[in-house]
């Protein structure tokens, strides 16, 4: 086990990158990156979506090979041929896109490719025991080690992914947006784990778009822009936000929420757009009553696992409710039919972009118009030019980069993929928008823009129902806040009448697996 004695503030440098370049067909993802990481520090990487952060860490972890540049690890220049080599050298990575095998159990995933074994036989008992221990150390003893990973919710997968990285001997732990799927208390737990690592002298590279996290956990910050290092080794605690943001984006961005309108404009007949009554799915949520008026933004928050995503999917018809009713614009919605929901003017940006939202092999514009390409078609014939134009407008508003709508979505950075998911429903024609964690992985600049767009949509009469685990986001953007716990609504209030502390109190600390309401 790694055990480096803590050194004085000036700790040794474990990793130095000089002028690293990496190109993909048509894109120079890394264009001369400098980075220096010391033992026992949390080194944060900042940068807009598509700046090259994930590519950089993939170079470090042996998943990509750099075109040129030098990587010095523990004083030796290295060129990792494959991930195995990097792991052997003591670099463990938690990738942005979850790298788990759905069909294998939690324990098997954690020890994949380095199973405790005798003569090729897996020591299954030990694998399970050790996996259980690791999960316990991560604060999640409740995740069953025999459960198939594919059946876990996103947050639990993230924990397993962390468990896998921790199961390796490491002197450098790389974490690519580990907090994106985590809620408030989970992040605190993550930070506890990170501190535990740095206390042993393990270096951590931490990527996040949430500046407050970087302030809290980070020691130093390196900023990337367009594949280049624009600032290195800034102090994470003291560097002013404006400076960080301008280094990232090249301009100053007001990180503020758009103002709420004075009064919610009522629908013609004054009735709410969406009425949910007594909606129930056994084991997920129960007796949910909810309304959304047109022009209103309703934000749902709560712990991960509190059943918010399931609620959204049920309203949208992607799951069949066991009880209750959904009414849109006064008309009952056929249960369990997405087609009917879309016809009624509903749209949903689902939670998991890769599995639920994107056709990865298709271009950006075809993904953006996936839900309404028929709207651009004449007599069944599609109009690609019109689609591209519409998609391009959205891409511009959301600062998609590279702003090429013909690009295959797979080659986009995580945050840019998320923009495509949300962008799909901004194309118009939707009267009620369901957004599940719309800003996951989106950078600061684009996030502010996204808030503006959502508000403008609402102003134009669209009703928005949004789920977010970031309480400030819900409080800042939504007109009305709904707090869920264990599958039930525990509080609904106008955003102005409630503050962060109250929400967190309501949400209460709990575990990932808790929240199965006894219904």
């Amino acid at each position: 086990m790694t055990d480096l004695t803590k050194k004085s503030p000036e700790r040794e440098t474990v990793l130095t990158l000089t002028d690293v370049v990496k190109t993909f067909p048509g894109v120079r993802a890394l264009d001369g990156v400098q980075l220096e990481v010391r033992a026992g520090e949390v080194h944060c990487l900042l940068g807009q979506n598509g700046a090259g952060k994930s590519t950089l860490i993939k170079v470090l972890s042996g998943a990509h090979r750099p075109d040129s540049g030098e990587v010095v690890w523990l004083g030796q220049p290295v060129a990792f041929a494959n991930p195995q080599a990097a792991m052997k050298a003591g670099i463990a990575t938690i990738y942005q896109e979850l790298d788990l095998v759905d069909g294998l159990s939690v324990a098997d995933n954690i020890f994949l490719a380095h199973e405790p074994r005798t003569a090729g036989f897996v020591k299954r008992g030990q694998v399970r025991r050790d996996a259980g221990e690791i999960l316990a150390k991560l604060g999640h003893p409740e995740i069953p080690v025999r459960r198939e990973v594919g059946k876990l919710p996103a947050a639990a997968k993230q924990i397993v992914s962390m468990g896998r990285a921790l199961s390796r001997e490491a002197r450098l732990m790389i974490m690519d947006e580990p907090s994106a799927v985590l809620a408030h208390d989970e992040v605190a737990n993550l930070f506890r784990v990170i501190r535990g690592l740095t206390e042993q002298g393990i270096a951590v590279i931490y990527i996040s778009h949430r500046l407050d996290e970087i302030r809290e956990i980070g020691d130093r910050v390196t900023v990337l822009k367009d594949g280049r290092t624009t600032a290195a080794n800034l102090d994470a605690k003291t560097t002013p936000t404006t400076e960080l943001v301008s280094r990232m984006t090249g301009r100053n961005i007001e990180y503020v929420f758009p103002p709420r309108p004075e009064e919610v404009p009522p629908t013609p007949d004054g009735a709410p757009l969406l009425v949910v009554e007594g909606l129930t799915r056994h084991g997920e949520f129960a007796d949910v009553d909810l309304t959304v008026h047109s022009g209103e933004i309703v934000g749902i928050t709560g712990l991960v696992g509190s059943g918010r995503s399931e609620l959204m999917e049920t309203i949208f018809g992607a799951r069949r409710p066991h009880g209750g009713r959904v009414t849109v614009n006064g008309k009952g919605l056929r249960a369990g039919s997405v087609t009917a929901a879309v016809k009624a003017g509903l749209g949903m940006a689902p939670e998991e972009r890769k599995s639920q939202a994107l056709v990865l092999g298709e271009s950006v514009y075809r993904n953006m118009t996936l839900a309404n390409f028929a709207g651009y078609a004449r007599a069944g014939f599609t109009d690609a030019a019109k689609e591209r134009q519409a998609a391009d407008e959205v891409a511009e508003r959301l600062e998609l980069r590279p702003r090429d709508v013909r690009r295959v979505v797979r080659t986009l950075s995580g945050g840019n993929q998320q923009k495509v998911v949300v962008g799909r429903w901004l194309l118009g024609g939707t009267r009620l928008l369901l957004l599940d964690e719309p800003t996951r992985g989106v950078d600061v600049g684009a996030r502010a823009e996204l808030y503006q767009v959502i508000r403008k949509l609402a102003d134009s009469g669209v009703g928005v129902l949004m789920v977010s685990s970031e309480v400030p986001e819900v409080l800042g953007l939504a007109d009305r806040v709904v707090v869920m716990r264990e599958g039930r609504i525990v509080r609904q209030a106008p955003a102005a009448d409630i503050d962060e502390e109250t929400v967190l109190d309501l949400v209460m600390a709990g575990s990932l697996l808790e929240g199965s309401p006894a219904v």
Partner: protein, 353 residues
């Protein structure tokens, strides 16, 4: 704090954007299928070169060559039509093993005495109807019965052959002399191009438009690329899946007419192993078995490659065992040749990723 490079002037055109502009369309993702198809054309040229070396009498003689190519095209017609339907099914994330058996069933059904009494139109109508209905049955089992496509269409394969045997009494059913219009399809031509080839062309063009220019085609790509995403975007997954198999069945019906015309008869052993040929042609043509990606032109080129190889062997009078051995090698060679990334040729000094 060491400041390396101060943030350079805001909003300078990024290197990445420039680079992508410079390389242009050729290396963009959109051109990928075109590049693949060029690879296949390269394979066809290679076949021609081998032909020119081994049988110059045919391959270097304009009229002979033309006739020979027409034969290849005619032989490719039926399987080409089937491959077009198969392309839709595979892009949509499925597979159809029953095509050969459906050709048999349809060919038999449209050549029974009872059907033949309705004349050529009746026969064509029957063929299209039987093919489509059988395809829809496949689709129903898969989409609504949730039977894996491989198994559902395998079951259809088995049953349809049995039914074809039952209907025909295991006999070859010749086309009556009154229905010569049917057999004429394989004998007559229009503007020097045989009807069979026209049919392939027409089905190909319609298929191409349907796949690449209509909402139906868009849905097909989405359904195969990510079914869950397609569903959540409001596409009726099941209905669409069912229609895809119906379309494949319709193509089998068309192919059955072509086969009946060529063989001058319907028979329960028609279309033997067509499923393998059609799927292989699709895959060689760049259609991904996993779904979500594929090309009509590629599928037709794939069929031409396979039939071109067969033709090359026959005009060379090669013995069967050598035909087989060499055919396997050529298939591999064709695929490898296709992988040569033409766009990267001028940049070979750049190390590949």
């Amino acid at each position: 704090m060491t400041d390396l490079k101060p943030a350079t002037a805001p909003e300078q055109p990024t290197a990445a954007a420039e680079l992508s502009k410079r390389q242009g369309w050729w290396s963009s993702d959109a051109s990928e299928s075109v590049r693949r198809n060029l690879g296949l054309v390269g394979v066809l040229v290679a076949i021609w070169i081998v032909g020119a070396i081994t049988v110059p009498r045919i391959f270097l003689h304009a009229e002979q060559l033309w006739n020979n190519e027409l034969i290849i095209f005619q032989q490719s017609a039926a399987i080409g039509v089937i491959a077009i339907g198969m392309t839709f099914v595979i892009i949509g994330g499925g597979i159809d093993l029953s095509v050969g058996a459906l050709v048999a069933l349809t060919s038999v059904w449209c050549t029974t005495q009872a059907t033949q009494e309705f004349g050529p139109t009746g026969m064509v109508f029957t063929a299209l109807l039987v093919g489509t209905v059988a395809g829809l049955v496949n689709g129903f089992l898969i989409a609504y019965g949730r039977v894996v496509a491989f198994i559902a269409t395998l079951a259809m394969l088995v049953s349809a052959r049995g039914l074809a045997q039952l209907i025909s009494g295991k006999r070859t059913q010749r086309v009556n002399i009154e229905n010569v219009a049917i057999t004429n399809i394989a004998e007559k031509d229009f503007l020097g191009i045989p009807y069979l080839v026209w049919m392939l062309l027409v089905v190909g063009v319609i298929g191409w438009i349907l796949l690449n220019r209509t909402t139906f085609g868009r849905r097909t790509f989405a359904v195969g690329g990510n079914p869950e995403a397609a569903r959540l975007a409001g596409i009726n997954l099941r209905l669409h899946t069912m229609l895809l198999y119906g379309l494949s069945g319709l193509c089998c019906g068309i192919a059955a007419i072509m086969v009946v015309a060529q063989a001058t008869a319907g028979a329960p052993d028609h279309g033997d192993l067509y499923e393998l040929d059609a799927i292989a042609a699709c895959i060689i043509g760049g259609t991904a078995l996993a779904g979500g990606r594929g090309s009509i032109v590629g599928a037709i080129l794939g069929v031409l490659v396979f039939k071109g190889i067969t033709n090359l062997f026959i005009v060379n009078n090669l013995e069967q065992e050598y035909q087989l051995i060499v055919k396997g090698a050529i298939i591999i060679g064709a695929v490898l040749l296709q992988q040569v990334n033409f766009s990267s040729l001028p940049q070979l000094r750049k190390s590949p990723t």
